[in-house]
Symmetry: C2
Subunit: 390 residues, 2 copies
């Protein structure tokens, strides 16, 4: 694992089901940090606190809980976020301002700060190099699997490591998602380049996934880099080595989130080519990716391309309906705006049985491109979300 | 019923289930007509044909089928729409250009024009003053009930009648819906005022409903007025008498569509008050009304107002999260951005058990207002749409 980082996760009684719900990541020395947050106008208290604290560019620890989002709790919520960080600072004897906070779960419920303060010494005592899987479990809400990825790289012959942990399953759409993600690395890098690498990787990953088109008040991605490996980012080439690994980690975590989308049975990449602009390509891909009718057809394994045409038509992207081509992987379903017949449908029906495939749309209207990862919409999604709080 | 109008509906074998799928409305004399159509960039052949024909301002008949949308069928599709109208013109001995066409159903399937041509003489022979219920049945797709409304009014002591028929259940969102609507009236009115009254009524009804956020390629609303009652719109006051009745008919049909939304168990009006502008109020109301997380919570009868806050936060409307108030009918759930506690939740939970209620959101950011009708999202919606074509 990454040198100099420890983690832990325990059950603190925040969730009703007695599962792990409180986690911590700790860096033994000062770490450079960077972060991106939700663009939702309604932001949870920990997001507002972290936005302030990450400006310093360094941090030592992150404490995160599931089961309660600490959002829409007013001044009391902000006081809880501050107090949660203070409890960690006391237990670890580090400055309070070097502790970041993240919460995920139900919005608007009173925050159980007493439980967290009481359990924090125990949580800190369990910190270990091998604690990341427990941390990954502690931040899960409707996730069915923990999401943890480890990669290594090398700069000037010196190896370094990167560990990424994420949660997210519902309330997922482009422009972040109801997700938390924490990345630790023992590479040495300055805060500006770390932020640039994170922003780029985020744009190519978490900003391109959708489960249900909803966005969250708590979305947070934090990267900490402590330099403990001895590998240092000095040149532009070094930066690319690290940046590519970060891209890969975030993309894989994003894909794990979509694959674990609430009730999802399929992970589908919507690719739009030759739109009038990249912006219009993105609008078209997003509209298809978020269409309930497209997503239920994917669940039903029905190559109902008419719904894709309908979604494209309301996306705002400019195109001539008589010029559109649509492919499912390599099987052409639509040529010049019309269906390709029964043989094409039969091939597409086979592709739709796969857990993962691409839908490629050519608008023949320019050279803009975009891609978005989505999943299908199943009855299970309804079951999960109809009684989420109960 | 309205003087001078007849209708009929039969099973022509277009639907697989042998139910009625071909209908006609006929006016014995020339009728003034007005129409509004889908804003989707992908438009079905009958929509494109009607857009051209309604410019003349008069028509004699409308033929409509369910089971096939005649969309994305290229030149062949347009030829079918023209031929469908021609079959009616031949049978009724009226000019072909005075016949409008509407289709609804699966997009992209070859259009069964032979069946329609073969059955049209029989359809026409069944025309009757009492045929509107059969027509209403013939245009249903996933609708579970036919949608037919009759109203009367009076101008200068002369009574007139208005009959409205609609279909629509899925692919419904603001800016029209996957819906067809036909209104007949025996009032006398000129084409310009008829179009103005229709556009106004449409804006206040079909443009304010959502079932799943998807829009259709076939949406069409046609009004025919033949003057057979002897009641004539001459003054502005006369116009208002008619216009208010048309508003009411379209609003009731719109509400019937939402209440019959695919899998819907509840009909909910989202009202946004005191937004920075009417446009922002509409954006906020639409985002809440289309949020899958809000809609599944409504299905689960869970007053999960945090999801409403989350939807508002991503709507693009400007507001201070700490100033938002949310009511379920008269029960305040959120005051100044925070929950009102267990007693409020308990009251709201009772309201959520009702089949129809309002969610009222006050953004305290200006004086813009908007309202949108929506329904809940249930497992039944998934079942209906996962295997729609099979």
């Amino acid at each position: 694992m990454c040198k100099g980082f420890k983690a832990a996760g325990i059950a603190a009684g925040i969730k009703k089901n007695k599962e792990k719900d409180l986690g911590i990541i700790y860096c033994e020395t000062d770490a450079v940090c960077a972060a991106v947050f939700t663009k939702n106008r309604v932001k949870a208290a920990p997001v507002l606190l972290d936005m302030e604290r990450v400006r310093a560019g360094t941090c030592r620890a992150v404490i995160a809980n599931s089961g309660n989002a600490n959002c829409c709790n007013g001044d009391a919520g902000m006081a809880c976020a501050v107090e949660m960080a203070a409890a960690v600072a006391r237990a670890l004897k580090i400055p309070e301002t070097e502790v970041l906070v993240a919460s995920t779960g139900v919005i608007g419920n009173p925050f159980p700060i007493e439980k967290i303060i009481q359990k924090t010494p125990n949580l800190v005592s369990l910190l270990s190099k091998d604690g990341f899987p427990d941390f990954a479990s502690a931040i899960m809400t409707t996730d069915t699997v923990p999401k943890l990825i480890f990669r290594t790289g090398e700069i000037d012959g010196v190896p370094f490591s990167v560990t990424g942990v994420a949660k997210g399953s519902g309330m997922i759409r482009p422009d972040m998602a109801t997700m938390l993600c924490f990345v630790c690395t023992d590479i040495g890098i300055d805060a500006d380049r770390l932020q640039a690498a994170l922003s780029r990787a985020n744009e190519k990953s978490f900003n391109r996934i959708t489960v249900d088109g909803d966005t969250s008040t708590n979305d947070t991605v934090i990267v900490m880099a402590n330099g403990a490996s001895g590998a240092i980012v000095k040149t532009g080439e070094d930066y690319l080595v690290f940046s590519n690994i970060l891209d890969d980690i975030l993309f894989r975590l994003a894909k794990m989130i979509v694959a674990d989308g609430e009730g999802a049975t399929k992970c589908v990449t919507i690719i739009v080519n030759n739109a009038a602009s990249d912006t219009e390509a993105r609008a078209a891909a997003d509209t298809v990716a978020n269409s309930n009718l497209v997503k239920t057809a994917l669940f039903g394994q029905d190559p109902n391309w008419g719904r894709i045409m309908g979604a494209l038509g309301r996306s705002g992207a400019a195109f001539d309906p008589d010029c559109v081509d649509i492919f499912f992987n390599d099987a052409q379903m639509v040529a010049s705006g019309q269906g390709c017949g029964d043989a094409a449908e039969a091939r597409a029906a086979q592709i739709l049985k796969q857990p993962e495939f691409d839908i490629i749309i050519d608008l023949h209207a320019g050279d803009g491109t975009a891609s978005v990862l989505t999943c299908d919409l199943s009855e299970e999604y309804i079951r999960i979300n109809a009684d989420y709080r109960s």
